[in-house]
């Protein structure tokens, strides 16, 4: 749950089962919404269908365009930002390299037969290596964010501050923030760049697919069968922290072998105590003051035994 108590809704993919409008209504949001479609990148402004779904009560914050405008007008900051992104990419590549080796040990031990108790202990130890690597990677990413913010003070730079002032003006006239999916890194970066969550105050946030991932505690990339590479899930970054204790997995049914109990169980144990949460198409997980978390049947938690179960009560409270 975020530091600011506000209504939240995290949804599964909307293309084939759009539930956004119904969730907005269920949350009692009657006024306009601000939409964030920065994850769509160059298609950011192609919002006709989305805004129509919201009954025309929407204004787009154009975070992708605004980001480009900031970089164009503040080249010194842009260069520093680009260097930071290059550093992130290098860190991710090195992490992936170490992760492959650590996961290979887990996979080999999972397949190995022999002394049951010894193997159980070794499997646990091997997974702990992966968990430590994940934590270390996330912590390093955090450090880089903190160093960058301290060094460059983005929110105090005049061009960015002017854009934020405009965003604040737009947000003052809406009742909620709706964050669409798309490219999760681009989306999270733009949300972080303008610190949109702070600007939105205590307004409800509804986010789906990559939007939900960006708002969660930790962003995890996943695909069991890429054309190349090993298909090990990777920690990308810390999320924006609206949903502590949750790792969101939209499109999981398309990208993961959810019937493979070995892989699913390892996934669950790897990210515990966070709940690895499958968001089926159109699924909705909501939080409201007084009502707490309510998960519909499309929200499924990966269990340690490799099965999927209804998300159930969450140990995260307002």
């Amino acid at each position: 749950m975020s530091a600011v108590p506000r209504a939240l809704a995290f949804l599964g993919p909307q293309r084939f089962n759009p539930t956004l409008g119904a969730v907005v209504a269920a949350l009692g949001i009657e006024g306009d919404l601000a939409t964030v479609t920065a994850g769509w990148q160059e298609r950011e402004l192609e919002v006709e269908e989305l805004h129509e779904h919201l009954g025309g009560r929407a204004v787009n914050l154009e975070l992708h365009r605004r980001g480009d405008a900031v970089f164009a007008a503040d080249p010194e900051f842009a260069a520093a930002y680009r260097r930071r992104q290059e550093l992130f990419r290098e860190m991710q590549a090195i992490y992936a390299l170490r992760l492959d080796a650590a996961m290979a040990a887990c996979t080999a031990l999972a397949a190995r037969a022999g002394h049951a108790r010894l193997l159980e202990e070794e499997r646990g130890a091997a997974l702990e290596v992966v968990r430590t690597l994940d934590e270390s990677h996330a912590a390093r990413m955090n450090d880089v964010h903190a160093e960058f913010d301290a060094r460059w003070r983005p929110l105090e730079r005049s061009v960015l501050a002017a854009e934020r002032a405009e965003l604040a003006r737009l947000l003052a006239n809406v009742d909620a923030l709706a964050i669409a999916g798309g490219h999760v890194a681009v989306l999270a970066n733009r949300l972080r760049l303008f610190d949109v969550l702070a600007l939105s105050g205590d307004r409800p946030v509804i986010a789906w697919s990559a939007g939900a991932m960006a708002c969660s505690e930790r962003i995890v990339l996943f695909h069991d069968h890429p054309p190349y590479g090993t298909g090990h899930a990777q920690v990308l970054d810390q999320g924006l922290g609206l949903a502590d204790g949750l790792v969101f997995l939209p499109h999981a049914r398309r990208r993961l072998d959810l019937g493979d109990t070995e892989r699913v169980g390892m996934f669950a144990r790897r990210f515990a105590p966070r709940a690895a949460t499958v968001l089926e198409d159109g699924a909705a997980l909501t939080w409201r003051l007084g009502a707490g978390w309510i998960a519909d049947p499309g929200c499924l938690r990966m269990q340690d035994d490799g099965t999927l179960a209804p998300l159930g009560p969450l140990g995260v409270a307002a």
Binding site: E42, G181, G182, V184, V186, A210, L221, P226, P227, Y228
Partner: protein, 389 residues
């Protein structure tokens, strides 16, 4: 694939053996046998082909290099049933026809008991899938995948002295304000018709395994001339087609965002064009290239290969780094497997990043289709792990 001509160990378990063990089966027994199974009948590594009718001989005509191209069926004594059992290595995919000889006249036909067909410019062949082969699901129409478009265009080529048709594939949600990599496909019409290239692109782009890409699908005139290290063809692609594409569509226009692809002679045309214009095309996708060469003396493949042999001999003598990444694929059942295997270390020796994939398949469009995911996703990878819409 080895012919199973005698009672090998374990053969008694095969359905055809059980039928033969009955002695001379009557018509009803043959009817029952054919009704109980689908053919070709896959039993482990064994594949049993059957044909029923009056004939002087029946033969399997397949397209597997290394085996006799003609495999005789045996007649079940006292019946009109013909059969042949072969062993196929797992994951093999084999195209074939049946040759029926009657009254000293022979006819090649599709297997009437097999609905699985592979089309090509010459018609269609029957296909048998050995144990473990499955048609890749990403080659099939996926209603979730957004559809790109294919538009027909023409330009006059001074280099080739003819009208040149170019079909242009634009990915779904194409936006003029964005810049795209360019893939130039030789035999573009055949890739569309026989390798399902549009469906494959729609699926791989939708799944973000391949970057949004614009594809120029070219059509040859006399391909045996134009694709055989033909200077006017290279000039057409580079000095006429590239500007034509750049003026009309938003291309990134850097070597690493340009790829030439082709199969068979189309692969030769891709490599030879890259050699004539080094560092123009940073990506090459070469499928079952007809990379014939000779270490000494003439190459036995005939006069149409002469320019290819000359080009390849020169390239082998002085290999050059013409691109950054080269994806090479070839079927193990092709006569060209030796040439393609030989090419890989040669390409690597120049510092090019090379990936080579083999498959138990022949020189055909579905083999080339099945390798497209591996090739395209490496040459133009999409941000797959990052996109969650």
């Amino acid at each position: 694939m080895s012919p199973d001509t005698s009672a090998a160990p374990g053969e008694h378990r095969l359905a055809i053996r059980r039928l033969l063990d009955q002695g001379t089966p009557d018509r009803a027994a043959v009817d029952a046998f054919l009704g109980e199974h689908t053919f070709p009948l896959i039993e482990g590594m064994s594949v049993t082909f059957v044909w029923r009718g009056e004939a002087d001989s029946v033969r399997l005509r397949h397209f597997i290099y290394g085996l006799s191209a003609s495999q005789p069926f045996a007649r079940v004594p006292g019946t009109d049933l013909w059969h042949l059992t072969l062993e196929l290595p797992d994951r093999s995919r084999v195209e074939y026809k049946l040759e029926i000889e009657r009254n000293e006249r022979s006819e090649w036909i599709q297997d009437p008991r097999n609905s699985l067909l592979a089309r090509d410019p010459f018609g269609a062949n029957s296909v048998v899938h050995a144990r473990g082969y499955e048609i890749p699901e990403w080659t099939r129409f996926d209603p979730e995948s957004r559809s790109g478009t294919v538009e027909e265009h023409h330009l006059h080529s001074q280099a080739l002295g003819r009208d040149a048709r170019v079909d242009v594939y634009l990915p779904a949600r194409f936006r003029p304000g964005r810049r795209y990599p360019l893939l130039v496909a030789h035999d573009g019409g055949d890739y569309l018709a026989y390798s399902g290239l549009k469906t494959v692109l729609d699926n791989l782009v939708h799944r973000v395994e391949v970057a949004d890409v614009i594809v120029a699908l070219t059509y040859p005139g006399n391909r045996m001339v134009e694709y055989a290290d033909h200077e006017p063809h290279a000039r057409f692609l580079t000095e006429e087609l590239l500007p034509f594409m750049s003026e009309r569509w938003p291309l990134k226009n850097t070597p690493d965002t340009r790829c030439l692809m082709g199969a068979s002679f189309g692969a030769v045309a891709s490599l030879s064009t890259a050699c004539r214009y080094p560092q123009t095309y940073g990506r090459l996708l070469l499928q079952s290239g007809s990379f014939a060469f000779s270490d000494i003396g003439p190459n036995p493949r005939g006069p149409s290969f002469a320019p290819v042999v000359k080009f390849m001999n020169e390239f082998r003598d002085r290999p050059m780094r013409v691109a950054e990444r080269v994806f090479v694929s070839c079927g193990q059942y092709e006569s060209l497997i030796y040439e393609n295997r030989s090419l890989v270390p040669l390409l690597q020796s120049t510092g090019m990043d090379v990936r080579f994939v083999e498959a138990r398949d022949g020189h055909n469009w579905e083999n080339w289709r099945d390798r497209l995911r591996a090739g395209l996703s490496w040459l133009f990878p999409g941000p797959m792990g990052m996109i969650y819409e």
